[in-house]
Symmetry: C2
């Protein structure tokens, strides 16, 4: 089902990171992994961003607090199949107990463990199953297990999502490897559903936080499936420093490589979006501000009418026009707007392009990868958003999930 | 398919209003009416609200201008099957020519005619067919034709929408009758897709405008199918004064009756929403402001995940919670929020209600009419929004429309 997405290959291990995955019994099917553990070498820098949804899950609250209390996180414990969200005091207790179990087994303090959960909301986490699985999970940690970990954090994902990149900085190779998951309830606000990226570059914690904020804005915070921000969105970036190559938030080559890893991981979520048959890039150019450009792009990306037209490969561009027109952007002058579907111009300065034909529109819509470009001609800022179409299968997946 | 909606009956004629409907050839199927004409007696008060979508259609631009130039509108000409939106200069010309044709036939000035269109966006209006139909349309005007007119303005609607009400003011009967249409691209911003309401009450134009703004806020501006604001939304309220019963914007009994007519017409659009199998009322109480209450209600109403859960009759209330949590409301304190599905409490003060069981949740979801109630416990304002679910048929209708 996924659009232009394959099982990841060739993932560079990151010295200082070890991973393990197991089936602990949260998912019914015992062939499916549902628990991952990521070990971070002492002395690494760790930065994280979390959902801005006010109803954030218990593990998000605990992870945020632990990272504040002890910035040198040593373990990330992630379960799939249950989000531990909307679970009240019992949910907080379960998240804390899972951290304590990892801490005890590894001989670290509980604040050095960050918990993460993804899956059904508002069901109690079977934490005893997790605790029982921890000793053997810890014993199976390996530097080469990135793909296994990517599989263990999947929910409605049809494929694991991972990407790896090597870049030469000051003559020395630096590696970046990351995994992500998510295919529904996707309009991350600060981070995606779940993503973990590590590099062996040497980066100060403050610089790492700057870097993470910068790359998240144009990757995980630029995708949407359904406009629904999850209660569990989390993204963690780790720099182990094992390469001894020092990097800062102004290292252009490193930022380019890191951005590519984040973009690939974010795009993988859209390519595997629930029911997706199209991968759609929406670019809004020459806007008064980045925020305005994003508002227009999201208005198009969230329109169920645009999304169903995309599914039908129907160049019904009146729907795109209607979506632009309702974007909450001050002083938007529609008499300046240009609209393109692929290379085909639909609208020029707010008026139908005389060269447009239905056949050209159709041709621009048949592929699996669609590009919609809007030029507001009202400023110098631009934004790009990636989204999917709205298909029968989206309804099927979400009407049947849980049952 | 419509949820709890039947063909309207017993529509009171309004003295001073005559209506006619015909098939002019815009719709392919010649059994379907696609043109309506509404005649307003000289001396009536007329008020209208139009879409705030910046890409408003040519007829909206012309109707707005004509009403400004000449507040005593005499004719409303409405076609379905073609929205005359995104049609540039040719579209403006077509809208103006249709007004001139009505004006010439009736012996009034063109500014006394307001044009309205609904249907496919970005296709040229076949105005010659409309012009050819006008003489016979004008000749068939009758006071009893409300239902015919309601049928003529339908697009993807499965049933005509009309409602009528009589109320006694100062011992004298006053009638209110209205029609509406729309079932997709519905999140009106000032007015619904199309609605025309008339009363024989005597109301000054300024008072009528106040009244219209007041009742639209809680009716047409409180519904959503898909969050998509149409390019053609228009709502017209006419007071012919033929009852000689004078009414102002502070006449409580009249406002109550008028509100009921508007609510019924707005709800009819949701009951007949594209693919709808559920009619859902979302009420947000004790909010800091009316705008905040509406934001929270719309966040729930627009969530594809909530809508597919409604379709599946699945009390997956974690999705409602996630939607509330992402509402753009300042200082929303989730530890104060109560959530009800029908009479069943799900969440009390931000925590799962101990008395909740899955069986109770299921029972609250099986019916066709669902009520979701959120109490923010953070103020004194409330808002109600009506919406529909997201079904396979929604995708089918919108993937196949046009083809």
């Amino acid at each position: 089902m996924a659009v232009g997405l394959e099982t990841p290959g060739n993932l560079h291990p990151i010295q200082g990171i070890r991973l393990a995955a197991a089936h602990s019994g949260i998912k019914q099917d015992n062939r499916l992994k549902d628990l991952a553990l990521i070990e971070i070498e002492e002395g690494s820098s760790v930065a994280a961003v979390f959902t801005r949804n006010r109803f954030c899950a218990a593990p998000v609250t605990v992870a945020r607090r632990h990272l504040e209390q002890f910035p040198g996180s040593r373990y990330l414990l992630i379960n799939s199949g249950n989000a531990n969200a909307g679970t009240g005091v019992d949910g907080m207790d379960a998240a804390l107990r899972s951290c304590e179990a990892v801490a005890e087994n590894a001989g670290v303090n509980p604040e050095a463990v960050l918990p993460f959960s993804t899956g059904v909301i508002a069901a109690l986490l079977p934490v005893d199953k997790i605790i029982a699985a921890i000793p053997s999970l810890h014993a199976s940690l390996l530097a080469d297990n990135w793909l296994l970990a990517a599989e263990a954090i999947m929910t409605t994902d049809t494929l694991p999502k991972a990407f790896s990149k090597q870049v030469v900085i000051d003559g020395h190779p630096v590696s970046i490897t990351g995994i992500s998951k998510g295919s529904g309830m996707i309009k991350p606000d600060m981070a995606t559903m779940l993503s973990y990226v590590a590099t062996d570059a040497l980066i100060e914690p403050g610089e790492l936080r700057l870097l993470l904020a910068q790359v998240v804005a144009c990757s995980f915070n630029s995708i949407t499936v359904d406009g629904d921000t999850s209660t569990n969105d989390s993204c963690v970036l780790v720099a182990t420093g094992s390469s001894n190559v020092r990097v800062s938030a102004s290292s252009i080559d490193f930022i380019a490589a890191l951005t590519q890893v984040f973009e690939q991981l974010a795009q993988a979520i859209i390519r595997d979006a629930e029911g997706a048959t199209k991968f759609v890039e929406i670019e809004v150019q020459q806007a008064p501000s980045f925020a305005d450009a994003k508002q227009v792009a999201y208005c198009i990306a969230h329109s169920p009418l645009v999304k169903t037209a995309l599914y039908a490969s129907d160049p019904n561009w009146g729907r795109i026009l209607a979506a632009i027109g309702r974007a909450p952007v001050d002083n938007l002058d529609i008499d300046l707007v240009d609209l393109y579907l692929g290379d085909t111009c639909l609208l020029r300065q707010g008026l139908p392009d005389p060269g447009y034909t239905e056949a050209k529109g159709q041709a621009a819509m048949v592929g699996e990868e669609i590009s919609i470009r809007v030029n507001l001609n009202q400023g110098g800022e631009a934004a790009r958003v990636w989204t999917s179409d709205l298909s029968y299968d989206y309804v099927k997946i979400n009407a049947e999930y849980r049952s």
